[in-house]
C-alpha cells in the first residue's frame, strides 16, 4: 500500500497545529509543548503521559487539515485534563482492570472532552464519540460517565478508539516510556497546565464552560464540604472555652511531684451546639437533610451529648427539620421568622448559652450586624447567583467575616 509507505507530511501536520493554536489561543502553550513522534503502529494520533504525540503518517495523509487540527486539540485535552492520572486513580478505587475497562475510560474521557471542544472555528471530526451516542447527558466528568455505560451495541463503533496511554493510563507497545527522549517531567507538565489555566482565567470571554471550569479547578479542586464542615464544627467546638483543655479548676495529678506549685489539669467540658436552620423555600429538603444529619453526627463525635445539640428552625413551616430531629433525638427549640437574625437571637437567648452556633442557609438573608459571643460556622448552600424581578440590582449580603463559611454542594 502506497499510503503506509509514505513519510510523514510534516507541513500538513504543523499547518493543522497552527490552525488549532489560532482558533484556541489559550491552548497554544500546551499544543506547542507536545513532542511529535512519527509512528506506524498508531491507528491515528495518540499521546502518552510524558506529553509525546505519536502520529500515523497515513492518517495525516488521508485527513484534511481542519480535521487534524481538531484531533490536535482533542489529544492535548486528554493531557491537560490529566485523564491518565485520573484513569489510574479510578482503576485503583473501583477495581477496574484490563484493556476493556481502559477502553471504557478512553471513551468516557472522550465524552468529557467532545461535548464542547468543537465548533467556533474547529470542525467536528468524523465518527467522534459523543455522550449522546450512549444516551448520556452532556457536561459531566470522565468519572461520572464511566459508571453509566458498558461496551455494547451503542458503543460498538467506538471500539477502534485509541488515544494512547495519555488518555487512559494503559501503556501501549509504541510508547517510548519514562526514559525516552523529549518527555516532560511532572513539574514541567504542571507548569504548562498552569500557563494554560492562567491564559483562560485572564481572557474568559469566548472560552467554553468546560474549559473555564477546568481552569478554576486544576490547581484548586473543589473541597469536600463534609470534611470541611466537620473540621469547622470540630475546631469551633474544641477551641478554648469549650471541649477538652487544661484548666486550673482542679489540681493536676502531677501536683504531688511539685509541692507548692499550682499546675493545670485536663478536664473535658462538652460543647453545646446550636444549629440554626434556614427552612425557607429556596433550600431543598434533600440539601437540608444531608447537611443537618452531618452536623448532628459531627457534634455527637466531638462529645456533644444529645441533650447538648439543639436545633432552631428559622421558618414557620419547618417540615424537614422536625421529623429529622425527632428521628435523631434532637430537641427542637421554637420556630421563628424567615429572617436569620431572629434565628441567631433565639439561639443565643436559649439557656445555657451555646458554645457553637452552626447556621445552615442559602445566604439569601440578612446577617446580624455584630459578632455573636460564640463561635459561628456557616454552611452555605451553593447558589448560581440570585435574581429578583422587582429589583434587578438586588444582591444578597455575603456572610460576615467573623463566621467560618463552608460551601455545601
Amino acid at each position: 500500500m502506497s499510503a503506509a509507505a509514505r513519510t510523514l507530511d510534516r507541513d500538513k501536520l504543523f499547518a493543522a497545529r497552527l490552525h488549532a493554536a489560532r482558533v484556541r489561543p489559550y491552548l497554544a502553550t500546551a499544543l506547542f509543548a507536545l513532542h511529535t513522534v512519527e509512528s506506524r503502529q498508531v491507528p491515528t494520533m495518540a499521546v502518552d503521559r510524558h506529553w509525546r504525540c505519536y502520529v500515523s503518517p497515513s492518517f495525516v495523509d488521508r485527513t484534511p487539515e481542519e480535521e487534524l487540527a481538531a484531533v490536535w486539540v482533542h489529544e492535548v485535552s486528554h493531557l491537560l485534563r490529566d485523564h491518565h492520572g485520573r484513569g489510574d486513580r479510578v482503576a485503583r478505587e473501583r477495581g477496574l482492570h484490563g484493556p476493556g475497562e481502559r477502553l471504557r475510560m478512553n471513551i468516557a474521557a472522550d465524552f468529557e472532552i467532545n461535548d464542547d471542544a468543537y465548533g467556533d472555528g474547529l470542525v467536528r471530526p468524523e465518527g467522534v464519540a459523543q455522550p449522546a451516542d450512549a444516551g448520556l447527558p452532556e457536561g459531566q466528568l470522565m468519572e461520572e460517565y464511566l459508571g453509566q455505560f458498558g461496551i455494547g451495541s451503542a458503543t460498538q463503533h467506538m471500539a477502534w478508539l485509541d488515544c494512547g496511554s495519555g488518555a487512559d493510563g494503559l501503556e501501549r507497545e509504541w510508547d517510548l516510556g519514562e526514559d525516552g527522549a523529549h518527555g516532560l517531567t511532572d513539574q514541567e507538565r504542571d507548569a504548562v497546565r498552569f500557563r494554560v489555566a492562567q491564559g483562560i482565567r485572564g481572557r474568559p470571554g469566548r472560552t467554553p464552560a468546560g474549559w473555564k471550569r477546568w481552569a478554576e479547578e486544576v490547581f484548586h479542586p473543589p473541597q469536600p464540604w463534609r470534611e470541611l464542615l466537620g473540621a469547622a464544627v470540630r475546631s469551633a467546638a474544641t477551641g478554648s472555652g469549650a471541649g477538652e483543655d487544661y484548666t486550673y479548676g482542679r489540681p493536676s495529678r502531677r501536683s504531688a511531684g511539685v509541692p507548692g506549685a499550682v499546675l493545670p489539669s485536663l478536664r473535658r467540658r462538652p460543647p453545646r451546639v446550636c444549629v440554626v436552620i434556614d427552612t425557607s423555600a429556596s433550600v431543598s429538603d434533600a440539601e437540608l437533610g444531608s447537611a443537618l444529619l452531618e452536623v448532628a453526627a459531627i457534634s455527637r463525635a466531638v462529645g456533644g451529648r444529645r441533650d447538648l445539640v439543639t436545633v432552631v428552625p428559622c421558618d414557620a413551616a419547618a417540615h424537614v427539620a422536625h421529623p429529622l430531629c425527632r428521628a435523631e433525638g434532637i430537641p427542637l427549640v421554637g420556630g421563628g421568622g424567615t429572617d436569620l437574625r431572629t434565628g441567631f437571637a433565639k439561639a443565643l437567648r436559649s439557656a445555657p448559652r451555646p458554645d457553637v452556633v452552626v447556621v445552615l442557609t442559602d445566604g439569601q438573608t440578612a446577617w446580624p450586624a455584630t459578632r455573636p459571643p460564640c463561635r459561628t460556622v456557616v454552611g452555605l448552600f451553593a447558589r448560581q447567583g440570585s435574581y429578583d424581578e422587582d429589583d434587578p440590582d438586588y444582591a444578597p449580603d455575603t456572610p460576615p467575616a467573623w463566621a467560618r463559611v463552608v460551601e455545601i454542594g
Binding site: A15, H35, G119, H182, T185, Q187, L228, V233, S235, S240
Partner: protein
C-alpha cells in the same frame, strides 16, 4: 497426620528437642528484620533535607502510619544528628513551657521554669534533630506551648542551640480527630510538605528491599552564585507582580496551608538558594516553593525560573549561527518572541538580519509552525531603507505553512458556522 503439635501440649522441659520459646521467636524476628537497601531518588526526602539544612521549620502533613518517623530516622542519620522524638499528644503544656520548681524564697528568687530531661540532653549535646510528632492530636494548650518551642526555640528557661533542627508532623484536617488547624500567621511560618507513600516503595520494602535515598550535598563552590540566582529570581517576579507579595488565604479550603507574605518569600529565597547550591531537581524545588508560598505563587515563581533559564535574546542576536534553541516547542516560541521583542526595542539593520538568521535556523531544526508568529512580527518591523536579507528565502516554507493554515481556518469557519 500432621507433624505440627499445639505448643501447649509439648511443654515438657525434659524434651531434648525443645528450645526456649522466646529464643525461637527472636530468631524469627531477626529473620524478618533482615532487609537490604537499594539506591532510589526520593524527591520528598530530598526536599525535607534541604528545608532542614536551611533551618526552616518544616511541617509534615500525612496520614498516620505512612513512614514519617522512618524518613526522619534516615534524615538524622544522613545529617549525622542525634534524633529526639517527642510525641506531643502524651505531654502536658508544662513539659514544654517549663515545670515550676519552688525554691526557698519564691518572692525573692522567683519560680524557675525547669525544662524536661530530653531538652536538657539536647542542649548539652549542642546539636540534634527534634521531631515533634502527633502535633495535631495534642490539646490546644499543648499546641500553644509547642508552637513557642518551634518558633522561638525556647523550652522553659532553656534556649535550644542553633545546631538543633526542628521538624513537626501533623495529620491532615480531614483525618485529624479533633480538627486542629493552623491559624494563618502560624501557617505562614512553616514549610508545608505533604507526606505521601509511594506504592512501589512500600511493596518492595515489605519484600525486603527498602530504598536508600542519596541526599543532596551543598557544593561550596556554588554558594555565591546560588544566592545571586535566588535573589534575582524572587525579586524579578515580585517586581513584576506586586500583588503576589502578600495575599491572605481566603476560603475554608485553603485554611491552614501555605500563603505568600514577605516572610514566606524570604523562606522561599533561602530554599531556592539551597536547592541551587545542592543542584536539586525542579521537582524538589517545586515541592519546597509550593510548600512555602502556596500553589499559585509557587507555580508563578517556577514559571519565571523557566523563563530565566532560556537563552538571552541579546546573546542569540550576537551570534545567530551558534545559537542553541530549546527543543520544547512552547519554550522555543517564547525565545523567538523574545528575540523579536529585543529587535523592536533597539531596531537596526544588523540586528534585524541576525533575527532572520535565527528564524531560519529555528525552521531547520524544529517544527515550522512555531516560527510563523515571530516571523510575522519580525517582518512588521522592517524599515523602508532595509533590504530583505537572503536568509528570508529559507523561510518560504513557513509562509506556505501559514497560508495553508489560513485556508484550513477559513474552511473550518465555514463548516462550523451552522454549529455555533
Amino acid at each position: 497426620m500432621s507433624s505440627y503439635a499445639p505448643p501447649a501440649a509439648t511443654e515438657t522441659p525434659a524434651d531434648p528437642m525443645s528450645v526456649p520459646r522466646l529464643e525461637v521467636a527472636a530468631a524469627l524476628l531477626s529473620l524478618l528484620r533482615e532487609s537490604t537497601t537499594e539506591p532510589r531518588p526520593d524527591t520528598q526526602l530530598e526536599a525535607l533535607t534541604l528545608a532542614v539544612s536551611a533551618d526552616l521549620p518544616v511541617l509534615l502533613w500525612g496520614e498516620p502510619g505512612i513512614g514519617k518517623t522512618a524518613a526522619l530516622t534516615q534524615l538524622a542519620a544522613s545529617l549525622d544528628l542525634p534524633l529526639t522524638t517527642v510525641i506531643a499528644s502524651v505531654h502536658e503544656p508544662s513539659d514544654f513551657s517549663g515545670l515550676p520548681v519552688i525554691g526557698d524564697d519564691p518572692a525573692q528568687q522567683g519560680v524557675p521554669m525547669a525544662p524536661p530531661e530530653w531538652a536538657v540532653r539536647l542542649v548539652r549535646a549542642g546539636r540534634g534533630l527534634l521531631f515533634l510528632d502527633e502535633l495535631s492530636t495534642a490539646p490546644p494548650a499543648v499546641q500553644a506551648a509547642l508552637l513557642r518551642l518551634v518558633l522561638e526555640r525556647r523550652i522553659g528557661a532553656l534556649r535550644l542551640p542553633p545546631a538543633v533542627r526542628i521538624v513537626a508532623a501533623a495529620n491532615p484536617r480531614s483525618s485529624a480527630a479533633d480538627g486542629w488547624e493552623l491559624s494563618p500567621p502560624l501557617a505562614n511560618r512553616f514549610v508545608h510538605l505533604q507526606w505521601t507513600h509511594d506504592h512501589d516503595v512500600v511493596v518492595r520494602g515489605l519484600g525486603g528491599t527498602w530504598p536508600r535515598a542519596t541526599l543532596p550535598r551543598l557544593d561550596p563552590s556554588k554558594l555565591p552564585r546560588a544566592v545571586d540566582h535566588a535573589r534575582r529570581a524572587v525579586c524579578g517576579l515580585l517586581a513584576a507582580r506586586p500583588a503576589l507579595v502578600h495575599r491572605l488565604p481566603s476560603g475554608e479550603g485553603r485554611r491552614g496551608g501555605p500563603w505568600p507574605s514577605p516572610r514566606s518569600w524570604e523562606m522561599t529565597l533561602h530554599l531556592l538558594a539551597f536547592a541551587t547550591a545542592a543542584g536539586s531537581s525542579r521537582e524538589v524545588l517545586s515541592l519546597l516553593v509550593r510548600g512555602a508560598v502556596g500553589d499559585g505563587p509557587g507555580l508563578e515563581l517556577l514559571a519565571s525560573l523557566d523563563r530565566m533559564d532560556l537563552p538571552d535574546p541579546e546573546a542569540l542576536l550576537a551570534d545567530p549561527d551558534a545559537a542553541l534553541l530549546p527543543e520544547r516547542g512552547d519554550l522555543r516560541q517564547a525565545v523567538l518572541d523574545g528575540v523579536v521583542e529585543a529587535v523592536r526595542n533597539r531596531p537596526d539593520k544588523a540586528r534585524w538580519d541576525a533575527a532572520w538568521a535565527l528564524m531560519a535556523r529555528a525552521l531547520e531544526t524544529g517544527a515550522p509552525d512555531l516560527v510563523v508568529v515571530p516571523a510575522t512580527g519580525l517582518a512588521a518591523l522592517r524599515r523602508e531603507e532595509w533590504d530583505v536579507p537572503e536568509s528570508i528565502e529559507r523561510l518560504a516554507g513557513a509562509v506556505t505553512l501559514s497560508r495553508r493554515a489560513d485556508r484550513a481556518t477559513a474552511r473550518a469557519a465555514l463548516a462550523t458556522e451552522g454549529v455555533r
